[in-house]
Amino acid sequence: MKILVPLKRVIDYHVRIKVKADGSGIDTNQVKMSINPFDEIAIEAAVQLKEQGIAHSIVLVSIGEDACQESLRAGLALGADCAIHIKTNSPLSPFVVASLLKEVVEREKPDCVIAGKQAIDGDHNQVGQMLAGLLNWPQATFASAILVKQNNPRVFEVTREVDGGSTTIEIDLPAVITTDLRLNIPRYATLPELMKAKHKPLTVLMPDEFSVKITPHIERLSVRTPAARKKGVRLKTVAELVDVLKHTEGLL
């Protein structure tokens, strides 16, 4: 079984982001970048399937500027076998990303795509579902557990985290799975794996090698910092708190 894992390079989640003064976007200059955390979980899920003898190869794909190759190497060091970089400096909408990934899937013919449920920059939560729709494959979004059916390795039993509980479904491969936080805890790459990753195959493709029309159908007009809450009041005692709730706010 072959698994494809899309990967996005994003501002590291520990970084406190800054909106650019001209409101055109977020300042990424001199900022630590990392693999999107949900994508790391997707890589870990694929690697675990490989360790269980279910998957035989893992292909990573990333779309973006040259620096994506660093992230792809980091992903290879976690246990993926080869990587594809689609090189572009244009910001792409989730729909365009999904359309490019669809063509990657048609070339690579994986049995399963495991993707992060969302990237922590745009927070769209769309690409996996769109890819599944474009391919007409079943989808299992927000996965918190993936089990392979004992009697049929072409069927995955996936537990999905949904509002108010969890739902378990079975999906037939080929399928798209998107990962939620509790699916696993990604491993760290070891030094020998990091060294080995340098020599794993990485193919660079240009967007014009695809038939996807890249249009700015969703246009970002501006970005702003959210309105700050007004400065709060420090209270000293619980009695004061009850008094404020009751009299100042009229809540109790």
Binding site: D123, Q126, Q139, I169, A175, H217, R220, V223, P226, K236
Partner: protein, 316 residues
Amino acid sequence: MSVLLLAEHNNQHLSTSMENCLGAAQQITNTVDILVAGYQCGAVAKEASELPVRQVLVADNLCYEYGFAENTAPLIATLAKPYSHIMAPASTFGKDIIPRLGALLGVGVLSDVITILDERTIERPIYAGNAIETVKSHDPIILMTIRPTAFQSACKSTQPAEIIPIDTVIEASGVHFCSHSATTSKRPELSSAQVVVCGGRGLKSKEQFALAFELADSLGAALGATRAAVDAGFVPNDYQVGQTGKIIAPQLYIGIGISGAIQHIAGIKDSKIIIAINHDENAPIFDVADYGLLADLFTAVPELIQLLRDKGEKSC
């Protein structure tokens, strides 16, 4: 212009978030239809017909019982043509289906809409709510998921809307339902509660987390938790409040033993009043709290519960 709103429901009741989604739709047009796709969902259709909508489209068939994206998205695609906009709540339900619909229609999706500026232009949070982007869609049909807490709910209608059955049957191929485990609670539902008590890792253990339950019950509040508390196993994951959990906007939020990680704050910052009880004066939650009580929660919270009880007895 006209909007098709996808109903979220459990085949018995319409989700209360639909009233807020309708409120959002009405900012664009008063011509709104609701689609109820489900199985034996007549009661839901009736509830929907009591909202101020033009029509309620009802696809009532066994194949729609579980709200799978694999057949709900193509069903909506068959109905999409007359509409300028298609909307759904930005819940796990809406987020599962609407992007797949986008793929079928060849258009993008505006996720987590918090402000509608005009029929093509909206605001939405990015970076876990640490920035807000203004986005314009140039697509021929505009797909949105609506963050319900950001919109006022629409009023009930005086005249029931017409209910129109939809006979289209699309099987969900390649996906099968196994089981659902719902977290049942006597407390109000987290995403729509007026008062919410949230507990963090400061409560230290599953046993001591009972204090948060006790405070919630003395206020008739819903109970939530931070991701740290969920990961520590204090409560199940559907209690999680934050960017990756539930986004809430109650009248009153009380956070106990919560430091205030960015991702938790993103889920609570639209609350009307935020109260924080924490012993660490540098806890970031104090930056967003309207009232901060610097205290050991293990003495302050029982005292608060006692005072609330005394007050309750006096008013009886």
